[in-house]
């Protein structure tokens, strides 16, 4: 209802910018008009994806071997809103994600290929944000948890945003910390003598319930900064920058490396890493029915990786309620100084990996998205206000290829 009201308001006022395609827009609410309100469920979002990948450079088998992966990822987000006595808008966002994957290389944690090739991940999250009704400034805190068999992550953040006086610019900052634990699961052929094999990642299949793998911590601290600005009635831009520091076990103990002299070992990487990505977004409304969404990022880190990412999406509004969005993304990176392909690392190196995530490569990702958001609801169902489907094909110059299809359902 508020979407329709907002549209009516926009329609009355915007004689200069009148467009037949703005009925589908979701204008930002004027926070000065909030009335005190009890908590209510404002929106539900469900996103599900199917991801399929193939390649021949698995890190588990030292840079050779299958990288076949399938992953089904599901996420449910609930947004509750209410206003307090100052008419400030509060939003509580609760999320729950559940993934199931199969990874052929995972079976080769065991030398014989007997390890379990599948796994699950569950990741709940919560975020509370309060928005000042007069200034539009926001403050919030969030928490995040991710749990899978060999990896646990606990995260928290605090975020703040402030708008310029004319509300056309906004500066935001977010401070995040992730406190992870990596379970020390070694390849069966490189396992330290003190480790007892008792679970389905070891040689003995599913016959055990006791282990002494132990864990090792990994910490990530991140400060994100963004400034967005409306340039004119058709163009808005944003500058983005993150400063990221990591320390702890940044390698994975079940990644093998084969040296040039025929010997092998598990991956070894430095215990700290500093990352500096900076990005720029520009979105432009061209004519009455085309939106250009562009993005560029430059990335550098202390391991020697340098990367550029460019993305362009062209949204074509077939009707006010239906849009088609082809997109193209190009990515390129230089190799980390510790990367070597299979049997090319020197045994005298201090750090070494054959994980192709750190190789020199470029990739292309392209596909198309469809979005339906009629005012009377999708398929005439008022509660389902938005449906989005997106397909993408990804290809790396390392010969890794993947396909992903995603569905987003938005309920109000």
């Amino acid at each position: 209802m508020c979407r329709l009201n907002a549209y009516s308001q926009a329609k009355q006022d915007s004689t200069v910018n009148k467009s037949p395609y703005i009925i589908n827009s979701t204008p930002k609410q004027d926070s000065t008009h909030f009335n005190p309100r009890k908590m209510r469920l404002d929106e539900i979002n469900f996103v599900t994806s199917y991801y399929s990948q193939n390649g021949d450079h698995s890190a588990v088998t030292g840079g050779i071997g299958t990288e076949k992966v399938t992953d089904i990822a599901n996420g449910l987000d609930l947004n509750f809103v209410w206003t307090n006595h100052n008419n400030n808008k509060n939003t509580l966002a609760l999320g729950l994600g559940f993934d199931y994957h199969t990874a052929a290389s995972q079976a080769y944690v065991s030398k014989t290929g007997a390890s379990s090739p599948s796994g699950t991940r569950i990741y709940p999250s919560a975020d509370w944000t309060v928005e000042n009704s007069k200034t539009g400034n926001t403050f919030g805190v969030g928490a995040y948890l991710s749990n899978e068999y060999n990896y646990k992550s606990l995260g928290a953040d605090v975020h703040y945003s402030v708008k310029t006086d004319n509300k056309n610019g906004e500066f935001s900052v977010k401070l995040q910390g992730y406190f992870d634990n990596v379970r020390l699961i070694y390849p069966s052929d490189l396992m330290p003598a003190t480790t007892v094999i008792t679970n389905n990642y070891g040689d003995h299949g599913n016959d055990g319930h006791r282990d002494n793998f132990g864990t090792s911590p990994r910490k990530t601290y991140n400060a994100s900064f963004a400034y967005s600005q409306i340039i004119n009635s058709r163009l808005q831009i944003a500058f983005l920058a993150d400063v990221v520091g990591q320390n702890g076990l940044l390698s994975l103990p079940f990644h093998r490396v084969y040296f040039s002299n025929g010997s092998d070992a598990i991956e070894k990487l430095p215990s700290s890493r500093f990352k500096l990505p900076v990005g720029f977004r520009a979105n432009y409304f061209l004519g009455d029915n085309i939106i250009l969404r562009s993005y560029y990022r430059y990335y550098a880190d202390s391991w020697g990786v340098r990367s550029s990412t460019a993305n362009l999406e062209v949204v074509y509004k077939v009707s006010p309620f239906f849009s088609i969005s082809p997109f193209y993304r190009y990515y390129t990176q230089t190799a980390a100084r510790y990367f070597s392909p299979y049997e090319e690392a020197s045994p005298t190196q201090q750090y070494f990996t054959s994980n192709y995530e750190y190789a020199d490569f470029h990739s292309q990702f392209f596909g198309v998205g469809f979005r339906v958001a009629p005012p009377k609801g999708v398929f005439g169902w008022q509660g389902l206000h938005e449906l989005e489907i997106r397909y993408g094909h990804y290809a790396q110059s390392t010969d890794l290829v993947s396909n992903v299809i995603s569905l987003d359902l938005g309920f109000k």
Binding site: S19, N150, I230, G369
Partner: protein, 60 residues
């Protein structure tokens, strides 16, 4: 730079019908969430896109 932008742009609320279109948002689409995840796991670079920069293994 921030001061410069703030002083030169003054788009009124009634002129924001296009800017306020949901597909003009300066953020990732919700439907992109899992794409961003797999990209951050398959590529060394991450961040500066309102996505994750830590947490989760992406081991496979």
């Amino acid at each position: 730079m921030v001061i410069s932008f703030a002083s030169c742009a003054n788009v009124k609320e009634y002129q924001k019908s296009r800017i306020n279109d949901s597909e003009m948002a300066l953020s990732n689409r919700k439907v992109e969430k899992n794409e961003l995840n797999f990209q951050s796991y398959r590529e060394a670079a991450s961040g500066a896109n309102a996505g994750k920069t830590g947490g989760g293994c992406g081991c496979n």
